[in-house]
Symmetry: C2
Subunit: 402 residues, 2 copies
């Protein structure tokens, strides 16, 4: 066992400055020191689509996300563990966060069945029958060896019946208890049993200092969010995420619920708002006390020709850019903006060139990373309110320069 | 007009060393000094598929190819000229060679009709009726502003009837005369007329030092190759290419015809074998006096999961690589080989990740560029015969390490 390498504190977090409810922090993980607020690009299958790790590292990314569901199905956590864990397998030297697989499994809808023990589902790849539980989600992520593992939760769609939300909060809490117990057993190097009392197969923490985050659910019902916070913090995780938002609810409601929930969470631990969001969402959520984000928006939209700038989104396929000699964003330091024009990017997109996806993704990721850097700086200098107002006004003044 | 910037000699070429018939040379172009023998990656639509210009430049590429047919149809040479020419439009600071569009037009088969004046064809994009002539091929490439423009020729399929080959050699020579006349008129800044006697629309050399290469045809018939060389060198171009090979003929025959033709061409000018080839083809053709190559093989095969190594080709999708911790080629200095394993590359390919295409293309291009560097070094040190034998033996010892 590797217990001797485990830290006394998992994912130590230091709040360096606050400005209103916004926090400037530093999260120390086994593979990176992460400055917060932070945006984590999504590398679903062990790669952030259309870019290399070098691109990401050069752009300043120090933590990316991998999806447990996808990696479990292909190539499988056993293979990844034999290759030395996910960091080694994919050659990413910095930090990794893995989700629990829950979100993907729940989005399978007709292909899954939730029971107390976990979730039966059919693989989207080959239709094979699979089962994911709070314990197996821990074991899979232990084999992947991410810096941060997420607990297995139930994520409801929006809108959801209040009774269903209440049931889901309770189920998520029972699963959280089991997931936490399993993680503590792995850390202690002792055997543990599943909900049926039968001993679980041995598992090993590839990264001994792997942190485990709990997830708050509760839909858009404040009382359920409060209950979920109470139940989850009572179990006690290394930090907490806010799940179940950005699933279709109105944006102002999302901000309200995120803000309410953040305010209930321990101040000395990072707060991660899962699956959010647009540039404005990041700025607004930071103002409500959020420290960590992930979202496919910058990468997915890049592949569809949608680019983010300080002056809002532009659709590069638009004919108006056919002879536009300007870079995407004149103040951006990314490779794309330093070396290409909107005219060339439009040509590549219209011509169906894969290089369009590369260049667009490089830009969008850099825009997100640089926005987070600007956020951190604004908090540091105690001018977050004016930064936020200026950013949102400029971003939403649609079409000002585009 | 920009005549005052034009050089006394177009594409000056210096033979630095010879070893048997292999030549080590240096070709000076308006945008780069190119060390020969050289391989030119293909950037069909103004981008080498799946990589950035930075990747190419870092890998040592100093000249890439653009396709006149594709760029003419989309975005059109007028737009590119307004954006400052192809170098400026795509942001490639080094040299560019453009083909004449002939090869693509002829591969349209049922969609084209050859007449004395040129070729009527239908765009593969929208079916619109188009016409390409020896003169318009010059004008389009003048607007693109490539460092090297190719003359408009007819490329026959293999096998071809001897009478058809003879007719084609004659037509190619008549077209070559017209293409050369048009280029000389543009250089002189004087008006010129088409084959019908009507004056042609004004055109401008975006790159005043643009060289024009003639193309030798003649299929696999030695006498026709000789005749094509005589007719084409009689017209007089800045250098010569060997076209009409690598179109399905047996490889040994391709080597013979390339070698025969190279031996007939002026020794003080670079010789360009179009559309060739495999790593072994490059080594063999250099031994026969060839200085320049282009081929889609390294880039296209990369996207299909086929990787080139000193020990032959490997298909990365093969299950045998699922847990292979080795780089693609242990002696390769490319980003892919420095930072990834066969296991990860196989995972990315099987998972359908675009990053697979990026990493595979980076490697294959580097392998080609490094092979050319090794070729140049071997000629420099007068050990080309042993280099050639060792390279071919190792490459063809199938599956030795893969």
């Amino acid at each position: 066992m590797t217990r001797t390498d485990a830290p006394a504190t998992y994912a130590p977090f230091e709040v360096l400055a606050t400005d209103g409810r916004a926090r400037r922090g530093r999260l120390t993980l086994p593979h990176a020191v992460v400055e917060t607020p932070v945006f984590m690009p999504v590398g679903t299958q062990g790669a952030v689509k259309a870019v290399t790790h070098q691109h990401l590292g050069d752009g300043g990314a120090r933590i990316i996300l991998g999806n447990t569901y996808h990696l479990h199905l292909r190539p499988g956590e056993s293979l990844i563990e034999r290759m030395g864990g996910l960091h080694s397998f994919i050659g990413w030297p910095h930090a990794l966060l893995t989700d629990s697989g829950g979100y993907q499994v729940f989005s399978l809808e007709s292909r899954r069945k939730v029971i107390e023990a976990g979730v039966h589902f059919k693989s989207h790849l080959d239709g094979s029958a699979r089962f994911l539980s709070p314990e197996s989600a821990v074991d899979i992520q232990a084999a992947l060896g991410s810096d941060i593992a997420m607990v297995f939760d139930e994520c409801l769609p929006y809108p959801a019946d209040p009774a269903a939300v209440a049931d889901s909060v309770a189920l998520t809490a029972r699963w959280a208890r089991r997931g936490r117990d399993r993680m503590l057993a792995l850390r202690a190097g002792v055997e543990s049993a599943g909900p049926d009392g039968r001993p679980l197969a041995p598992a090993r923490l590839v990264t001994p200092g792997q942190a485990q985050f709990g997830i708050i659910q509760g839909g858009v019902i404040p009382a359920e969010r409060e209950r979920s916070v109470a139940l989850t913090t009572d179990i006690g995780f290394d930090a907490y995420a806010i799940g179940g938002l950005s699933v279709g609810e109105p944006i102002p409601l999302m901000y309200d619920i995120a803000g309410l929930t953040a305010g209930l969470l321990p101040a000395d631990r990072p707060r991660y708002l899962m699956g959010v969001g647009t540039p404005v969402d990041l700025v607004e959520a930071v103002a409500r006390g959020i420290d960590m984000f992930d979202c496919v928006l910058p990468t997915r939209n890049a592949r569809n020709g949608q680019l983010f700038t300080a002056d809002g989104k532009i659709n590069i396929k638009n004919a108006r850019y056919a002879e536009d000699p300007r870079p995407v964003d004149e103040n951006c330091r990314c490779y794309t903006c330093r070396t290409t024009t909107r005219a060339y990017l439009r040509h590549l997109y219209v011509a169906g060139e894969m290089t369009a996806a590369i260049l667009n993704t490089l830009h969008n990721i850099q825009f997100y990373l640089d926005t987070m850097e600007a956020i951190r700086e604004a908090i540091h200098f105690g001018r977050y309110a004016s930064f936020r107002q200026g950013f949102v006004e400029r971003y939403e003044r649609a079409g000002a320069s585009a």
